[in-house]
Symmetry: C2
Subunit: 226 residues, 2 copies
């Protein structure tokens, strides 16, 4: 029974990877680089996008917003005059807790690929399943808020291990928290040694220039690759 | 294709409910009340348990710790001399993002049901799937941290809608956040009108007595029922 379940999961992930590869080929044909942007709920993904997405050194960016339901994050980004496409995961049942390659594929016809150089896919807020499903991205970025505690890399290792960049957000709150930044960095290196990391605050602007430069570089010809 | 998927999901949830009912019967036979305790990663579930679990007005409590992997939260609770049982969801593949009734059922033989009046099941940190799977609980409690923003009830309505109690945690940070508490409460009432809610801080102890009293009441003969 258990072996059967493992096999079913493996086959589902194989099928996902096949579709992710097809997405990747479509993005390549359109000359679009893609970032899969992930975090726990409320870690600050949308705020960190608001800070940089409209001002990427000439890189034309678009956003694919993944949510269980609603379009609150897409609405927040609307005033930036960047193309934003909403993708909801709740059609027909309780709602998926992640985007998979097939959901992103279903959104391709709605994406203005000819008009953008970079697509940021804001995944559903969740530290488990989004890490298991590639969607055709060039790079993965995750946000970890200092309010979440130092133990998160150890509790959700796959998420931290499969990223090219970890944004450590809300550092403006550090003086008010019982939080040991060195311990977080130690735990991060334990699961993903030397992964690139940036201390940022969407509130104060700390570290935002480095984050913007990194995102602009993904769309450069040499890029940043998973 | 889509209809098939919906049917598969509905059948899986039906099967889950059947097993949840069997768990419920076993808990009833043992005279144990059960709380399903849920939140996003890092919202403060374990800290809020540490504050109250060993001192519940004579109620003998036990904890079932659900994690993708590791036993960090169980280790944190160990010094309280309350029985803690670890349940990991990562056996054989990437890891489940929630507990379901069958996983809890598999842990029953390891639970000291004869020695406790109340079992708190600390679910995997996630606002989506844990809300979809009943495990045989009497009541559901969720923690929502003020650091996560005011929009969470609207983005994860099933979680907020299916709880008997919402703990609004980390209120000690309110002076340092750009956060509108009235807006959170308004959004909460939009998805679950008049659900019981408490403002708490595991850091300062604010609201902890009310939380302890509520939890002790679940184990009282009249109880708190879903």
């Amino acid at each position: 029974m258990h072996r059967t379940k493992v096999k079913v999961v493996e086959e589902a992930l194989d099928a996902n990877n096949t579709i992710a590869t097809a997405n990747r080929a479509d993005f390549d044909r359109a000359g679009v680089r893609v970032v899969n942007f992930m975090s726990a709920p409320g870690a600050g993904k949308t705020s960190l996008l608001e800070r940089v997405i409209a001002n990427l050194d000439g890189v034309r960016a678009g956003v694919l917003e993944g949510d269980v339901q609603g379009s609150m994050d897409a609405d927040r980004l609307a005033h930036l005059h960047v193309p934003v496409t909403q993708l909801n995961t709740d059609s027909g049942f309780g709602g998926e807790c992640h985007l998979d390659a097939n959901m992103v594929r279903s959104a391709l016809p709605a994406l203005p690929l000819a008009e953008i150089d970079l697509l940021v896919i804001e995944n559903v807020g969740n530290l488990v399943c989004p890490a298991e499903f590639r969607v055709g991205e060039d790079a993965r970025v995750m946000v970890c808020s200092v309010t979440e505690g130092e133990d998160k890399p150890l509790k959700y290792p796959l998420m931290f291990r499969t990223c090219e960049l970890v944004l450590i957000n809300k550092v403006d709150l550090l003086p008010h928290l019982d939080f040991d930044l060195d311990k977080l960095l130690y735990n991060l290196d334990a699961v993903h040694p030397d992964v690139e990391r940036m201390l940022v605050s969407a509130q104060t602007g700390e570290g935002i220039e480095a984050w913007r430069d990194w995102l602009a570089r993904v769309a450069a010809p040499e890029g940043v690759h998973a």
